[in-house]
C-alpha cells in the first residue's frame, strides 16, 4: 500500500472515506460487490484504551430522516485491537484499501496513553482520527472538548507524540466547530472531520426511549454548513466531511463547499452500493 502524505493532503485515490463506526473493523470488506478501487480510505471503529462492551439494547433505530445510535463505543480496547491487527482479516483490508485508525478516550490520560501504546502500529494507517465526541466521564458525560484548556493541552501532547497525519473529529456541540477547528490547526493538526453525530432523543417502535447520536440525511445541511465555515477560516486544513451523505450530489456539494474528502456512514445501512456510486462520480477529483 503506497502512502503518500504531503502536508495536509492525504492523496486518496478517490475522495471518499468509510466513516468510523458504521464501517466496524473492516466487515464491509466481506461484501464482494464493493469496488475497493473506488474507496479512498476505510476508517475503523473508534478504539479506546480499555475494552468497552457498549450500551444495553436498544442501540439503534431509524425513522423520519435520521438514524439514532447509542452503541456506546463497543470495541475491543487496545489489547483486543492489537490481536485484531494480527488477524488475517484486518491485514487483508489494510493491504487493499488505505485505512484510517480512529481513537477515542474517556479522559485526557486515556487519549495520551493510547496514543503511546499505538505508536509501533501507526505506520499501517494513512491517518489517525481522534474522536473528540466521545462521552467523557470526567465531564459529566460530555466530551473532552468541554474543557477547552485541557483539550488544547491534549492536542499539543498528541501532536508531539506522533508525526502521523492526525485528524480531529469534531461535533457541532460543545463549542463553535470552526473555533475548535482553528484550535486544532493552530496546534499543528493536519485535518478535521466535521461533523459527528448530534445528540438526540427518540422513542422507538416499541415505545422505548433511545438517547443517542443522530446521523443520516437530516444532518446534511448542518454538516455542509460546518464544512463551509471551517474552510472559510482554514484554507489549508484537510477536511473530511461527515454527515448525511447519501448521493453523488451530496458528496459533490461537500467538496464544492470545501471538503477534501467525504465520509459515508449511515448510507451504508441503506445500501453499500453507495460507495461505488459516489466513488465513480468523484473519480475525476484527484489528489485529495
Amino acid at each position: 500500500m503506497e502512502m503518500k502524505k504531503s502536508g495536509n493532503k492525504l492523496n486518496l485515490r478517490t475522495p471518499i472515506v468509510i466513516a468510523s463506526g458504521p464501517g466496524g473493523f473492516g466487515e464491509y470488506f466481506e461484501i464482494p460487490t464493493i469496488d475497493w478501487a473506488l474507496v479512498g480510505a476505510y476508517t475503523l471503529k473508534t478504539v479506546t484504551l480499555n475494552r468497552k462492551i457498549g450500551n444495553k439494547p436498544p442501540r439503534i433505530y431509524a425513522k423520519d430522516g435520521y438514524v439514532i445510535n447509542r452503541i456506546g463505543l463497543e470495541n475491543p480496547g487496545f489489547e483486543g485491537f492489537k490481536a485484531l491487527m494480527e488477524e488475517r482479516g484486518l491485514e487483508e483490508v489494510i493491504s487493499h484499501v488505505p485505512v484510517i485508525l480512529s481513537v477515542g478516550g474517556d479522559t485526557f490520560d486515556e487519549y495520551v496513553e493510547l496514543t503511546r501504546l499505538l505508536k509501533p502500529y501507526l505506520n499501517r494507517f494513512i491517518a489517525i482520527e481522534y474522536n473528540f465526541s466521545c462521552p467523557n466521564v470526567q465531564h459529566g458525560g460530555l466530551s473532552i472538548v468541554s474543557d477547552k484548556n485541557e483539550w488544547r493541552r491534549l492536542l499539543q501532547v498528541v501532536r508531539k507524540e506522533t508525526d502521523s497525519f492526525i485528524i480531529a473529529k469534531l461535533g457541532i456541540e460543545g463549542g463553535f466547530i470552526e473555533q475548535m477547528a482553528e484550535v486544532a490547526a493552530s496546534e499543528g493538526w493536519n485535518g478535521v472531520t466535521v461533523i459527528n453525530t448530534i445528540r438526540g432523543l427518540m422513542i422507538d417502535g416499541e415505545n422505548r426511549v433511545v438517547l443517542g447520536g443522530l446521523s443520516g440525511p437530516n444532518l446534511f445541511p448542518i454538516a455542509l454548513r460546518a464544512v463551509y465555515e471551517v474552510r472559510k477560516r482554514l484554507p489549508d486544513i484537510y477536511i473530511i466531511a461527515s454527515g448525511g451523505v447519501y448521493t453523488p450530489d451530496d458528496a459533490k456539494l461537500m467538496i464544492e463547499f470545501g471538503a477534501d474528502a467525504v465520509s459515508i456512514g449511515s448510507a451504508l445501512f441503506k445500501n453499500e452500493s453507495v460507495l461505488n456510486e459516489i466513488g465513480k462520480s468523484l473519480q475525476g477529483i484527484q489528489n485529495t
Binding site: G24, P57, R59, V67, F269
Partner: protein, 247 residues
Amino acid sequence: MVSSSIRQFDGSSEKKTKYNVFELSKREIMEITVDTFLITFEEKIDFSPGQFCMVDVNDFGLTRKPFTLGSDAEGRIMISVKIVGAGTEYIVKTQNKLNILAPLGRGFLPPNKNGAIIVAPSCLAEGLELSRYFDVPLFVASRTNLNDDIVQHYGLNYIIGDYDYIYLLEKLKFSNFEWFFVSGSKKMEEITTKHLSAEGIKEVFVSLNEYMACGIGACKGCAVETTSGIKHVCQDGPVFRGDEIWR
C-alpha cells in the same frame, strides 16, 4: 474483523457463509393473513435454514430490512413479510426488483432429537424451510385467520389466538418433543420460552428480533443481552437458546 464468538447451543451450524448482493424478481405472492404475505422470487440462493437477508426498501427506510429466508421445493428464495410500516409495505407492493444482502447470520442446526417448529405467519417462510429441511412438524400460531389457499397448499397445522396458543403449548409439552424452535414476535418467543422451560423443556430456540442496521457485524447495533454477556443478533444469531435471553 472481530471474530464471532462461539455458538452457545449444541448442534448449531458453524458454517461461515459468504455474503453477496442479489437482485430478486417476484414470482408469486400468496396471502398468509390479511397483512402478511409469502413472496416467492425467481432466483435461487445458497443458504442454511435459520439465516436471513436484508432487503433494500428504496426510499421507504434508511436501513435495509431483515427477513428470515426460506425456499420453495425448487429452491427459489421465499420470504414472508408482515406489513408493519413503510418498508414492509414497499416490499409487498412494489413491482421493482428487490436488492438484498444474503445469506446473513448463522444457520440453525437442531439437536438430533424429536423437535417441532412454531412460527408466526410473518415467519412462515423460515418455518416451512426448517420443517422440510429437518423433517420436523410445523405449527403456525396466528392472531388472525389464515388464508384457506395457503393452509391447503402447505397443509398447515395452525391455531388462532392467544388462548389457543397456550393450549397448543400445553398439548405439545405432553408430546415427545425434546426441542422447539420458535420464530415470531419478541413477546411470543419470550412466553414460549418461559412456559416450556417451566415444564423442564430447556431446549427452546428462538429467532430474535433486534433492530438491524448493517446485518454483517459492523455497526454493533443489534446487541442483545444474554446470560453470557452482550451478543449480536446478526452475527451470533439470529437463533439463540431462549434461556440465554429470558430466565
